[in-house]
Symmetry: C2
Subunit: 194 residues, 2 copies
Amino acid sequence: MARSGRRPGRTGTRDRILVSARAAFGESGFEGATVRGIARAAGVDPALVHHYFGSKEQLFVASIELPFDPQHLAALLVRGGLDGLGERMMRFAVSIWGQPRSLQVLLGIARSATSDPRAAEALRGILESSLLPAIRELGVDQPELRASLIWSQVVGLVFGRFVVGVTPLTAAAPEQLVAAVAPILQLTLTAPMP
Amino acid sequence: MARSGRRPGRTGTRDRILVSARAAFGESGFEGATVRGIARAAGVDPALVHHYFGSKEQLFVASIELPFDPQHLAALLVRGGLDGLGERMMRFAVSIWGQPRSLQVLLGIARSATSDPRAAEALRGILESSLLPAIRELGVDQPELRASLIWSQVVGLVFGRFVVGVTPLTAAAPEQLVAAVAPILQLTLTAPMP
DNA sequence: GGTCTAATTCAACGTCCGATGAATTCTACA
DNA sequence: TGTAGAATTCATCGGACGTTGAATTAGACC
């Protein structure tokens, strides 16, 4: 039984709450995760969560900060031109979901997007602030449609691999996925579009 | 205030509950939808839901019966061979999500898959009982990986169009989507795979 | 007409949830 | 050393949820 009152020394409590929150939201989405569960995982009283973050929603917002800078991504994609862009995109996706913390953020957003418009907007934001500008800058025709199709392919991959657990997708090595999907993305960039 | 007791005449109450349930699950997923809300939408006391279906979970199972027969779909895809298979797949997907009831069932499963392993299994089932057998039967190499990639593309499309609301995907006419995506699916079927 | 069964509502229980406000303990700084 | 403020817990509130059991009303069949 932890007695009440301030703890001696520096306790990174706020950070521990954030870490637990990312794990919980990534596992169960916004609605499925509970403030009490997050507090328990952080070894802390639920009231502390509100003390630091005000509300469950604000905690969510704080915990799903995008694990990369959209402009940086856009620049990275543009650099190198249209050639090999599909592969660069896949490599970036794979490198992001290879980091546990980034993956948690991504899954937290994706799992919450099914019920929370804000999370859905965050997902759209990745498309509109990175993918679309990059493709526009390269002067491809029908940039909106192409960017959306690429976005939906990557989202589908993440969904299949990490949410639904489709065996060939969970079993494939990252390199194999890159090799398999990159040409498809490349065709999505270059094929004639209606 | 509806007084208690049996209603005169034939009241399709059970069916009305099912209809409301599909709408609610499609809109909010299993956890987000509430028995009380479904009952309210059906103009009925919440206890009736349990009288007819036993539990929220059994109601969910009853309401998400797949809107098509997997074997029939597999046969439809095989008939006609590898040529134009991508287009047939897209046409089928578009025709399914064009029917409101089917779309509700699909979205109910997809939205619940983020937290409910059973729904995730139902989603995998579409892949394993229709897509994969069809592709296998056509003698393509790497059928598991190809089927999974096609599945993830279609799931991503549904997610983008109906859950996240990606503008180019919501705005595109079904025919335009078929024309844009079919060649990509076809490449996924025929491109060399690692 | 009497009786059994199905349909329907009502009232309630127990649980979990997010949130609040007060009390307690420590740190920082004058 | 005294005191303001930050960190932490505790007890609790009000609400929503799934579920249950009893009571009420209608149809079906003898």
